[in-house]
Symmetry: C2
Subunit: 305 residues, 2 copies
Amino acid sequence: MNVDAISAYLCALQDRIVSELERLNGGRFRRDRWERAEGGASPPGGGGGDTRVIEGGGLFERGGVAFSHVRGARLPPSASAVRPELAGRGFEALGVSLVLHPRNPYVPTVHMNVRCFVATREGEAPVFWFGGGMDMTPYYGFEEDCVHFHRACKAALDPFGAELHPRFKRWCDEYFFLKHRNEPRGIGGIFFDDFHEPGFERCFALMQSVGDHFLPAYVPIVERRSALAYGERERDFQAYRRGRYVEFNLVYDRGTLFGLQSGGRTESILMSLPPLVKWRYDWKPEPGSAEERLYQEFLRPRDWV
Amino acid sequence: MNVDAISAYLCALQDRIVSELERLNGGRFRRDRWERAEGGASPPGGGGGDTRVIEGGGLFERGGVAFSHVRGARLPPSASAVRPELAGRGFEALGVSLVLHPRNPYVPTVHMNVRCFVATREGEAPVFWFGGGMDMTPYYGFEEDCVHFHRACKAALDPFGAELHPRFKRWCDEYFFLKHRNEPRGIGGIFFDDFHEPGFERCFALMQSVGDHFLPAYVPIVERRSALAYGERERDFQAYRRGRYVEFNLVYDRGTLFGLQSGGRTESILMSLPPLVKWRYDWKPEPGSAEERLYQEFLRPRDWV
């Protein structure tokens, strides 16, 4: 179980993604390295991270690609929910997490995350698991974008067994769901957690495959949509729909809750929140509009592949 | 234990507050009555509410004053957290809840809530408790406004014992606190929950006193600040600070969680969210600015009375 190898992969992945996004964008991500004070947080621990953020860019109104590697004396409850027998163990967690909020409402918001947990206790063998996935949240739906994104997700998993994609696709539909709205967050993708059965090396290889498939899944969609003209109406709908993103991340998202509970770095965790958001009361899209089509044809779990 | 009397008080309070806000504002609240389907929600139950909302008003950019009265077969966990022995009982909950987000950044956002719970089980006496309070969230701090608001809170509680105000004031400071920011939500006020010790009639009288003190606590502040001139800078800071309001309500607020968990009406619960919100990475106010003064002099628990 070589945590250094994971760390090296993740740092290189972050670099690769940031470079490609900068190439697309013409803008620059700022870099913010941070350390987590040993014993200063609750639960106490060390480690740190490297957060790359862009704000006010031409393509991305706000986005971040964050690497973090933290250690703690006690696994927080949100992390051990699926394995209560590990509660209170020491832990090490490392991953790359990204969220991109484009300015153009025709370009979807995207999220990708790959992470590895190791739970330790003196005198016992360490227990590891992997998690992650990617999912897309369009404001205006395009069939071909959804098909493309889901195909890339499938391609990432197929080398590891044909049964994984349907399982992780369904998991994503179930996970990124706003119960209080009875609405999925977006058009899904893949999601997995607590993944350890095939052994450490194979799990690590799967994590790499997911990480490596992010750019081919998303970049062609950005290239296809980022020159489309939009106006105030589309910006307004985007700001309204972004409210759902906030609701999901703050009410349900396990990664966000883990970060906030583990004394994580708030600004890095909440870089997932959109730059400009609107809420309004009991709003409904106009019948027959493109906005209504999003709800009726895209915000429904579908077999896109 | 007369639930009808509470209901009558709450409906009249809602009317009184809405009329006064309309007088101040010159705008009209829309009215949205709703019913909760018996058995349709999880946990199943009936009841309904009357939500009054204003959006795009001259004074209030978004605000709502909601009455609700719901019944359910099983008390949700968020409601029985302080009294685990009541988990799973039938319940009845009624209250008035309001949040007002003014357009002018010099006018503070305000929240008030009064509520009563009754937990029932066949063959046992019903168990009741009251909760509520009010608190204020300024964007720009004015000492005299804070003193005025806290004095009104104290006046609401003093007839019921001098020990209540310090206790409920401290409770408010502790409750409306964003752990992940290490920041209070605003300048506080009063908060109480699980209040039943003095008996039903006295608790109901206290609830009425809190409800009745809302307008005298807030209206003079609105009248004092709503004509102050502001520009883009103040609006921008207001939108940024409103992000904290969203973070608190979605991550910590027990009322919000209770509502979403009890199959409550999402639009009425989330009418507390601001109309226009901004997030940005690791932003700090300029040293010596009015924005920095808010953090240094107002967003600190203080003895304002």
